[in-house]
């Protein structure tokens, strides 16, 4: 009888051969399975509807590696990645992929802000996250001796969907560059956004002043495009921000208030820390995980894929049409705090009205 590991490997090979992605499967000593995917070129697609017009952008990135770890011992699946070839403009802003954290140093090995280590993809609220949940459930049930035939049939369908979705993740541009950075922002070389405020989000004393400034600006300038209301309170707001608005807000806020925080935090600040919930840390197999090696002779880092060496390298920029659209948005946490502030004001107002009556 086939073991789950064998069933998984057979199906993984079948699916990857069908969708024609280059791959390498490694069975780990502890029984886990690592699948390394390699894309020589990826066309990043963005289909965005703005004022009823569909804006299509296609950008090309080179040498993308995606590592999928099927952890069978403590059932879970992890998806991380990096690239080995960077254009100069990508390097300037630390761009690897729209759904991977930015890096700040190309030469630091094994640091979370270096491409020389694998970082987790942001999966947000996507089909892929659902696929992982379902696949994990099936793997768990196997070890609880509850694996029934229907689950095995489901596994075949799920793996097909999973790899379709992984491929889709590789090819999807970020709309607003949140929580990381979109390719559109790399091209525009203009990274000022309210995202930059995220370093003060956890500092409550400064935060209240900042929120007041932003809230006043948004209301006074009529920038709320759409309000979604649930149970009488605001659930979400869609803002109509432009680059000018972001600049104005940045100018209005007295950044001297944040000087201490800036000094203490901006150098080491990493936006990813705010996004713990976009990662799954538990149960990751750290043992001998890295696929990146340092060449002791020349000091260069490389990935060995199917017995071919892929060294980290920088190439010249190529001309790319700047037929793009930047969507400015608030950092999701900041947006939620603003919504809560408005709702609390509403509640207070309602209470006062009730007392009057």
């Amino acid at each position: 009888m086939k073991t789950l590991k064998k069933i998984l490997i057979d199906n993984i090979e079948k699916e990857l051969n069908l969708i024609k992605i280059e791959y390498e499967i490694k069975e780990k000593e502890n029984g886990n399975i690592n699948v390394l995917l390699y894309y020589p070129e990826v066309n990043l697609n963005l289909n965005l509807t703005k004022n009823d017009k569909i804006i299509k952008n296609v950008y090309k990135i080179i040498d993308l590696f995606i590592l999928i770890e099927f952890n069978l011992k403590n059932p879970n699946i992890f998806i991380s990645g990096t690239r080995t070839t960077f254009k100069k403009k990508e390097l300037a802003v630390g761009f690897i992929h729209p759904h991977l954290p930015k890096f700040s140093n190309l030469n630091t090995y094994n640091s979370s802000n270096s491409p020389n280590n694998l970082n987790y993809f942001c999966l947000g609220n996507s089909d892929l996250r659902d696929d992982i949940y379902k696949l994990t459930k099936i793997i768990t049930s196997y070890f609880e001796d509850a694996l029934v035939n229907t689950y095995l049939i489901e596994l075949k369908f799920l793996l097909k969907k999973f790899f379709y979705d992984v491929n889709s993740l590789a090819h999807t541009e970020s709309v607003s560059g949140i929580p990381y950075i979109s390719y559109t922002q790399v091209l525009s070389n203009n990274l000022i956004s309210i995202n930059d405020f995220s370093f003060v989000l956890n500092k409550s004393n400064s935060l209240s002043i900042l929120i007041e400034e932003i809230l006043n600006y948004i209301i006074n300038n009529n920038l709320i495009d759409k309000v979604i209301i649930k149970d009488g309170f605001i659930y979400d707001i869609k803002l109509n921000l432009t680059k000018k608005d972001v600049d104005n807000i940045l100018n209005k806020v007295d950044l001297s208030i944040y000087n201490t925080i800036l000094l203490n935090n901006i150098i080491v600040f990493n936006i990813d820390e705010d996004y713990d919930n976009t990662y799954i840390y538990n149960g990751r197999d750290n043992y001998n995980l890295s696929i990146i090696t340092k060449n002791l002779k020349n000091g260069l880092y490389y990935i060995n894929f199917k017995d071919k060496i892929y060294e980290f390298k920088i190439i010249e920029d190529v001309d790319e049409k700047e037929n793009h659209l930047i969507e400015y948005n608030l950092h999701p946490k900041l947006k939620q705090i603003i919504i809560n502030t408005i709702n609390n004001n509403l509640k207070e107002q309602m209470l006062k009205n009730q007392l009057k009556n």
Partner: protein, 74 residues
């Protein structure tokens, strides 16, 4: 009539006529089986059916439905 295995959140099996399109099957699943409207279907060989006019192969078939919820970030 042929059998089509359909997978979205769970596995389902329906009987459906031969010589039909992806659009016709999609309509049937939405109106008769209360499925959410999928944008694509993948068959066993990972052929993609995404346009309503795409003809489905005749005979028994297995299809994985794709909704395409791709909000990895914003």
């Amino acid at each position: 009539m042929r059998k089509i295995q359909v997978y979205l959140n769970s596995l389902d099996e329906i009987e459906f006529e031969d010589n039909t399109t992806w659009g016709e099957l999609k309509k049937y699943l939405v109106y008769n089986k209360n499925y959410p409207s999928a944008v694509k279907a993948l068959d066993d060989n990972s052929n993609i059916y995404s346009n309503d006019a795409d003809k489905l192969p005749d005979g028994n078939l297995s299809l994985t439905l794709i909704i395409e919820k791709t909000n990895y970030g914003i």
